[in-house]
Amino acid sequence: MQFPSRRKKFITNSQTELYGHPLQFYGQPPLENISLTEFEALAVDRLKLLKTIENLGVSYVKLSDQYTKKLQFESKTLNFPYRPDADDRKSQAGPIELEKRRKDHISHFILRLAYCQTEDLRRWFIQQEVDLFRHRFNDLNPKQKLEFLHRNNLQYETISVEEKKTLKDKLVKSSYAASGVTVEDQEFYKVPFQDALDLVRTRKVYLKAGYVYIPHHDIVTIVLNDFRTRLSKALALTARSLPAVHSDERLQPLLNHLSHAYVGQDYSIQKNVGKISLEQIDSLSGKSFPLCMRQIHQSLRENHHLRHGGRMQYGLFLKGIGLSLEQALQFWRSEFIKGKVDADKFDKAYAYSIRHMFGKEGKRTDYTPYSCMKVILSNAPSQGDHHGCPFRHSDPELLKQKLQFYKVSPSGISQILELVKGMHYQLACQKYFELTHNLEDASFSLNHPNQYFIESQKVLGGGKDIKREMDAPQRSQENSATRGSSAAPEEAANASQDLAEGTEELDSFFQDA
């Protein structure tokens, strides 16, 4: 990576060439000199954009009208290219637009440096960049799309007219939203199924003998796959040249900070280890656990067993609220041995995985509790499972019964179900929080089961349920949490106006966004 210490002449001509199209494949790294302040400002803005994309992806169907509008709005606020020029007669984009494209270009490459370091970071970064790219590519008009393919030398194999005729029926039936008429007018591309996984996954494409037949209409899938592959390779390469960048002591702390910002608070800092006794868990689960954890807890008590997905989600949550390894082992053992598992079997088959959770086995990663995003999006529950997000993974009818059982008012239930219907699962959970804690409006934005717990304890009287010997570290954590959330809206607002105020601000932005 030649960035940013190399000296190259700033050539305006090459810039118009480089930024000639609203969308780019990021094939060439930027070669100009920029100040550290700008470096940071650009990076922070892109991070905000990517974070927005992540949040929107949970609340809305990707590429739905609302999703697109909100994303356009955010891009505009942050001064990124947000909409391809409506007037395509103007072949040369104006200087303001060029500046935005430059920002897009440079900020992308800065975040590559920050996000190439671990597998987790790479995965997150690629996912958000791919979503951003998809959104932008969809916003292009057909002519611009072709131009983009042409500029980047992207050629895909199309099928012949005869082949199309023989396959016509199949193509009409399997291709999402393609009707008989359009099958004839459209080019169809034939690619290995590995290159169009999104379509394969959802069965929205004709798949035969390992090849998918994609209408031009859906070409974004292949382009995206290309984009993803290239980005993934590029990140691996960047990671290799990272030591050189890290030797620059101006950049290293900055990059590290940027890469830590993406998850927000991970609730793995256990200042309150041992502050909860095992006897409290039952009562806490009714009062302060989010519905997902309450549900798992209940089924654990009923069945004296949990399958792997549930053990992970619940086990890490409990670790996050302060169970020590010894307590966790005792907790799980005492429950499991009431069922079909005897103590000996427990020690052999389950104790390992609990120690593993606490980073005491295997590669010794100290695992962090799952965020709402992770619970909602990954490892959906299947037969025999009780984990997942009750708002996302329950039949509405069952959810309704459950809420009735928990004495949520009928009007509250209908509000929650409305949110669920709109796929706003986290908002539904937050509404549940407000209703069960008698609050008009919770002053935080919920994105983590452990956050739910902490906030609930706060409302219920600063954690009176937790043992009385609440000492200094515990309190200080509570304080800082309070401060963070009450200051949130204000800071978030400032954040978008005032860009490069420093990275502390960034922290709070991501904690509360």
């Binding site: 399997s174 199924f193 590995q194 069965r203 035969k208 037969q383 009780h386 993974h393």
Partner: protein, 433 residues
């Protein structure tokens, strides 16, 4: 052979015999070496052994067939699992820098386990199976085998009975072995229709291809339904009697739209025969299809929810996920994990699969029919110099394991034809230089 004859306490005594005289090492090696097309393919493969008292040893690897044989005969594993092909030899994984030891390739595998069907079978639960619910596995194999071959174009599929309550599929094509994690999970999701945990009653929702989040009636589903339809009446209506007892009727009706449910409940008061009840359901479904109301496909949804294969997606996703090896013993039942010949799928009986003590007993039996066997064996003796080796071949042929090994051989012959192509290409390339 009733499995009640088997007692896991006898394993330490008979496992040595099994690994010394019966385990088909040469075929096993032939499989995992894949014709030697890729360097170190066998050597970098992870094996893991479960020993007595559930002692679990991961990251075993072997440089040759002989080394594998010796080690297995020494350790006598209760259970063998196969893992991925790694960047380095798995038994040296601690000596390489962390992060560089990575799983590179593995067969695409599927694990179907009867416990995942507990909400739709009434005959047994958990680890138990019977010939009534085994139909579910037959349906699953039909549907998946067709899709993997026709849709994905894979050819070398090895179906294996797990030894207890399920089946495994090993897709051994080169393209399958090289799939990324994302591609594996996409394939698994393509094949999964039944979704949701215990908090979700209705696990299959079909729609016309309009709503982006649900499963549409596409070609794949039509093919799958065709398979399910063949079995549905016998399996669900007769064997499981899903429209007989009240609780199970309620469960089925819960999957229908509310207005239909009311009508059916009334109809069922007068109609008790499951076959006729199902006709009423179909009748309702046909009427509804003429309208534009929601829930048009409830008939199909019911059939799929009750019969469609349920995959353990996590097993298929991970490149480094371990799966029980073919010809491993199932320590709980004593049955051997045997490859299944799909030509005889309809008559496959899990209870007829030999247990380790059966085949070991068969070895001790006086050699009846030795004469006719001899003519076959003398040929092998000529080509095979090593007398011990040829005795081993004779050994498994005298047991009920023979037909499964024979089928495994056929499977390997099929794969060998594709290796030959690969090797030819390679040597051609070398000549060019």
């Amino acid at each position: 052979m009733p499995s009640s004859d088997y007692d896991s306490a006898c394993l330490p005594d008979i496992l040595p015999l099994y690994y010394r005289r019966l385990f088909p090492f040469s075929q096993y090696y032939r499989w995992l070496n894949y014709g030697g097309v890729q360097k170190n393919y066998f050597q970098n493969r992870e094996f893991s052994f479960t020993l007595k008292d559930d002692i679990y040893v991961r990251y075993q690897s072997f440089s040759t067939q002989t080394e594998l044989e010796k080690e297995m005969q020494k350790m006598n594993p209760y259970k063998i699992d196969i893992g991925a092909i790694y960047s380095h030899r798995p038994n040296q994984h601690n000596t390489v820098k962390s992060g560089t030891f990575q799983a590179l390739e593995k067969e695409l595998v599927f694990d179907i386990d009867m416990t995942d069907y507990d909400d739709v079978r009434s005959c047994c639960s958990a680890a138990d199976i019977c010939c009534k619910c085994w139909t579910l596995m037959t349906i699953a194999i039909h549907i998946l085998d067709r899709a993997l071959r026709e849709d994905f174009g894979f050819q070398h599929l090895l179906w294996v009975y797990s030894g207890r309550r399920g089946v495994h599929c090993w897709v051994c094509d080169e393209a399958a072995r090289k799939l990324s994690v994302a591609a594996r999970s996409a394939v698994a999701e393509y094949l999964s229709l039944v979704k949701g945990g215990d908090e979700m009653m209705k696990k299959v929702v079909l729609t016309d291809p309009i709503h982006p989040l649900s499963v549409c009636i596409c070609d794949f589903n039509r093919e799958s339904l065709a398979v399910v339809e063949q079995y549905f009446s016998r399996y669900a209506l007769q064997d499981q009697d899903i429209l007989g007892r009240k609780e199970s009727v309620d469960k089925v009706l819960a999957l229908t739209p509310e207005d239909v449910r009311k009508e059916l409940q009334e109809d069922f008061l007068y109609e008790k025969k499951p076959e006729n009840r199902w006709k009423l359901v179909k009748e309702q479904a046909r009427r509804r299809r003429g309208t534009s109301k929601k829930g048009q496909y409830f008939e199909e949804e019911i059939m799929l929810q009750y019969c469609y294969p349920r995959l353990d997606v996590n097993v298929s996703k991970g490149v480094n996920h371990l799966l029980k090896s073919p010809f491993s013993v199932h320590p709980k039942t004593g049955r051997i994990s045997v490859p299944m010949d799909l030509k005889e799928l309809e008559t496959f009986d899990p209870f007829a699969v030999p247990t380790i003590n059966l085949i070991c007993e068969e070895l001790d039996r006086p050699r009846t029919g030795e004469e006719e066997e001899k003519t076959e064996d003398t040929k092998e003796k000529e080509s095979e110099q090593d007398a011990a080796e040829s005795r081993k071949i004779r050994d498994y042929k005298r047991t009920s394991l023979a037909k499964y090994v024979k089928y495994f051989d056929q499977f390997l012959d099929g794969m060998a034809r594709s290796w030959k192509g690969e090797l030819l290409k390679k040597s051609d390339l070398q000549k060019d230089f």
